[in-house]
Amino acid sequence: MHELSIASSIIDSLKAKFQDERLQITEINLQVGKLTCLLPESLQFCFDSLRQDKLVKNATLKIETINGTGFCQECNEKYPMEALYTVCPKCQTPGMEIVQGNELKIKSVEVEDV
């Protein structure tokens, strides 16, 4: 259940960033790549169980899923990557370089003053 530590990291990093400001967060826009080993549902559940702090108590966690894209060094082309074991659809070379889909980012937050 690594989603618990990830949810906790999200809250800790927001607390560190906004601890001296008189505001509360109403929305957190999170980007999660499809090639990470994170389940958005679990992340949501863990976030809900951890949000006692007044900074994030009323925040909605919005998770945007980012599709995977791989780069094949043989073909010099980018292709959709469904999973880490996806091979190049053109030349079958394994181990495409991940160019998108590994994200775990707080893209933005919506805040209001209190």
């Binding site: 990291s9 990093s13 990470t36």
Partner: protein, 236 residues
């Protein structure tokens, strides 16, 4: 409770949608772990401590591999072990009996070690310069793959009593791996584990991965593993 909107916060907050504002952050959630991992790595490099992070499912033989490795190396190099388990000091006791300095981290409910825990552990445990540090992560093929500890190599141990399709079932771990050790090869005659197939699955995810086949119990194949460690210890 707020008198205006009925929410559970004090009533001195804004009720005007226009007062809400969007702040762009673009912050990597793993960055705090990465900061500690980088500091750990700098410390290891400065002190010339070659560090490996051992990862596997429970029961793959990590601790037995550690014991045998310590016995084969302790006369030529100082070895220390950081043991990660949810509970008990049992593994650290086994490591100390084998002749290495050991520190146990109990993660409680935690399913992995993180770089912050390691930054405390390396202050607590006495590490010699020009030594080998082996970190035995919590037995789990999913969560620890996300957390760099500052190690030089991630070593995934897969025993032949598990399925040979584990690399495809747990791709994140095998994608993160630098080394895959196939352990318990003495049991190959009794199980349906196809090492070549399993290696090809691992290389499908991670073509650069280096593999070893050994039995920590009988010692078969241990020489290649020990030589690899010695080579890296010399290069540090």
């Amino acid at each position: 409770m707020c008198d205006t909107c009925g929410c559970n916060t004090p009533d001195n907050h804004s009720h005007n949608e226009h007062d809400k504002r969007l702040l762009e952050l673009h912050e990597d959630v793993m960055s705090s772990n990465e900061v500690y991992a980088q500091q750990n790595r700098e410390y290891f490099n400065k002190q010339k401590i070659f560090t490996v992070n051992l990862l596997s499912s429970p029961g793959s033989g990590k601790t037995t591999l550690l014991e045998k490795t310590i016995r084969l190396l302790k006369n030529s190099v100082s070895v220390a072990v950081i043991e990660g388990d949810q509970q008990t000091e049992l593994d650290a006791d086994r490591i100390r009996s084998a002749g290495a300095n050991a520190l146990q981290i109990n993660t409680g409910a935690g399913c992995h070690l993180d770089a912050h825990q390691i930054s405390h552990a390396i202050k607590e445990i006495e590490l010699d310069s020009n030594s080998l540090l082996m970190i035995e992560n919590v037995g789990n093929l999913v969560c620890p793959s996300m957390f760099n500890l500052g190690e030089h190599f991630k070593v995934v141990i897969l025993s032949v009593t598990e399925g040979d399709d584990k690399p495809l079932k747990y791709p994140h771990m095998f994608h993160a791996a630098d080394i895959v050790v196939f352990n318990k090869t003495d049991l190959l005659p009794y199980v349906d584990f196809d090492i070549e197939k399993s290696q090809s699955y691992a290389k499908q995810i991670n073509p650069k991965v280096i593999t070893f086949e050994l039995s920590a119990k009988t010692g078969e194949g241990m020489t290649d593993w020990i030589d690899w460690l010695k080579l890296n210890l010399t290069n540090k």
